[in-house]
Amino acid sequence: MTLNALLFQALNGLSTASGLFFIAAGLSLIFGVTRIVNIAHGSLYMLGTYIAYSLATKIGGAFGFWGGIVLTALIVGVIGALIEIVLLRRIYRAPELFQLLATFALVLVINDATLWLWGPEDLLGPRAPGLAGAVEIFGRRLPSYDLFLIFIAPAVLIVLHFALAKTRFGRLMRAATQDREMVGALGVNQAVLFTSVFALGALLAGLGGALQVAREPANLATDLVAIGDAFVVVVVGGMGSITGAYLAAIIIAEVKALCIAIGVVNLGFVTVNFSKFTLVAEFIVMAIVLIARPYGLLGKPQGVVRSVAEPEAPIRPATPMLKVLGAVVLVLLLALPLLAQTSPYVLVLATDVLIAVIFATSLHFIMGPGGMHSFGHAAYFGLGAYGAALLVKLAGFPMLAALFTAPLVALLGALLFGWFAVRLSGVYLAMLTLAFAQIVWALVFQWEGFTGGSNGVIGVWPAAPFNKSWAYFLLALAFTVIAILVLRRFLFAPFGYAMRAGRDSPLRAEAIGIDVKRIHWLGFAIAGCVCGIAGGLFAFAKGSISPEAISVSRSIDGLVMVLLGGIQTLVGPIVGASVYAVLQDTVMRQTEYWRALLGVIILVLVLAFPQGIAGALSALSRKLGRKPGGAA
């Protein structure tokens, strides 16, 4: 590798950084003011590329391209304003995680809308009129458009910086970032402020997406990739800091470029291909930054958001009615193999539901009572699944032994990652857990010799007598019931109370001798261990395991399940996981546009039941119970 090659890759990195910066800056601005982590921000970015493509090809010429980019930014800005007015405005008072759920639903809807409008093919835009050539630098040819991208990002940064520093709107935004209640109390119209900030953020994302049109094809997978990258950039730079976002975008793009430039290196005893580390690299950068500077490079501790959500009611032991209900459900499930003799698919689906229930219940254990909003629970699912599969394949473990050992693999992972994660809180904890999950995913994906890479591990079938679907279903049921009851028992024991104490008031918990970090760490480990059970069961249920099954979307599925059921109730995750797993399965087979349908269903549920399904049911039963007629 020559110095010239390295410098050339560094320039390449700078032009990539501009795209990262635009999307991250918008995300950061929106979070700073509204405290909403807009998962749909990647979708707005993607829309930007598609709209700019259409304008550039339909109108054509220099005006179609350059005018199209400006127009695209404005159009996406308007879309952002509409999203804020129609949807988000209704849920500012909902628990923060609910807002995440709503924006995730938007991801699904926008993705299918794009598929419907533009079709599934990648669309490569025309070259930029006036900048179609290339410049000779370091002995290689760099497209002059890339050079333009390198300069446009700092230019926008400077404009934004002065707008925030000098204008009245900028001052309001900075004030709202520090203390939005106070800004509201001073008579500022928050609705207008929030809408315009959201529109501005969307405009930046649209601009970023539009600028990519001459560089990369418009692609339907861009949304999740872009949002993942943007999360990392925002967290590394510090939430709410535009300059931090720029700095972080450059660092991350450069680290990736460096990995590519280094390429294959022979370290004597082992050959490492660094260009394959690009996936892991950004998340390792993020993990290091978060551990050294918990609020990002230029971030400050977040201003306290005075809780708007109603605090949780004390947990009570199961009422007789709930116990009866649980017993009835259990009996029905035990009888399911008999009931479903004619349609064997029911048992396969039911097994999937059980696995989802364990997954969601273990996630709820740390999210609800622990207050730790993990965005990377798929990591422990993956460790369990790969643990079980590899123990069978490589170590020759019998099935049951593998199923019992798999959770221990997940436990080890959770102990390691949890130790770092509990040092942070809120959005930063969420992002660090996401980073760890991506590291696990990338390791599995890139360590081909051990894990089979993208093909995964196949031929992990259950041994007799569990090779019959009814027998495997009953096995899964046994694991599920035990996992649920044990976790529930823990929650009612002093440990579970201590976990809630640490969530309710860390200061007060420490003041009565509770080591909050230690308790939350152990809670994290327990949840990871139980999640490993779900992973092990999944591997044998499918007969295989691949990186796809442990990707980001599984972590998001878990969040959706928990929130759907209601985070403040203990049966919530069970209800949520069942509803979601069945919905996903049935909706998916109905239509090509299942994502949009699922998204719409989630949106309706979010708007109709801000406490989740189980939360809404228990609120309803309390209401009925209080009626004079009911008491008499």
Partner: protein, 254 residues
């Protein structure tokens, strides 16, 4: 021997001497008030004693054990109870569960994974609640309580580990005058009964001068007076920091 000794304690925040060479002692069973105008360093002193801040220099002794820089939870284990300036409970628990948590922690049972917490130390928790007059509210969610009642719960929690020293940061802040007197009377009665030493900060001079055994006064980070109510009332320096010397008025008049 004194229960708590503070020796030459100092803390600066970016060049501001919040607390500067402060020393005092509390004897067994003593009810000691720490007063001073805003910004005098009361809360900083307090937070160094309860472990939330680490002193820059000086020492804090409980008996003969140094606690400077120890974590709050370890200081609590040495028999130091505390209440907060802005009272807080564990909002997702009932009143009695709040007290039970402190009792479970005191018995080192926090890591218990099996026996339901609600059944542990309930009798003792109810006893403590009865002592602060909150037994009737035992099974109500603590988030529903009025602020004055939350202050009483805090007191019950602070008494759960049989403390020898109680730290109360503005125990009556945010309360009506009537409630204020009742609470301090209650604290005084409980500590006399149990022989607990109390260090408290307070803005209400009525409360301080009627109940404290001894008063220490901080101003701009320094300890300027230490004595009983009568001595403090007549102390010229104390009058100066609270009321000024009157010189400014004389100068304009002349």
């Amino acid at each position: 021997m004194s229960v708590l000794s503070v020796r030459s304690l100092s803390k600066t925040f970016g060049g501001v001497h919040a607390v500067n060479d402060v020393s005092f002692d509390i004897g067994k069973g003593e009810f000691l008030a720490l007063i001073g105008p805003n910004g005098a360093g009361k809360s900083t002193t307090f937070n160094m004693i309860n472990g939330q801040l680490t002193p820059d220099s000086g020492d804090i002794l409980i008996g003969d054990k140094s606690i400077a820089g120890m974590a709050p939870r370890d200081i609590w284990r040495l028999g130091v109870g505390r209440t907060f300036q802005v009272a807080a409970t564990f909002g997702s628990m009932t009143v009695v569960e709040n007290v039970q948590m402190a009792l479970i922690s005191h018995a080192r049972g926090i890591l218990g994974l099996w026996r339901p917490a609600a059944s542990l130390h309930r009798e003792r928790a109810l006893e403590l609640l009865a002592q602060v007059g909150m037994a009737d509210a035992a099974d109500r969610p603590s988030r529903e309580l009025a602020y004055g009642d939350v202050k009483r719960i805090e007191l019950a929690i602070a008494l759960a580990n049989d403390p020898q020293l109680l730290l109360m940061d503005e125990p009556t802040a945010g309360m009506a005058p009537r409630e204020r007197n009742d609470l301090i009377k209650l604290v005084k009665a409980l500590v006399v009964e149990r022989g607990i030493s109390v260090l408290f900060t307070e803005h209400s001079m009525d409360v301080v001068f009627s109940y404290a055994d001894r008063i220490i006064v901080l101003a701009r980070g320094r300890l300027i007076a230490d004595g009983n109510a009568a001595a403090i009332r007549d102390n010229a320096k104390v009058r100066e920091v609270y009321f000024g010397t009157g010189k400014t008025f004389q100068e304009t008049a002349s």
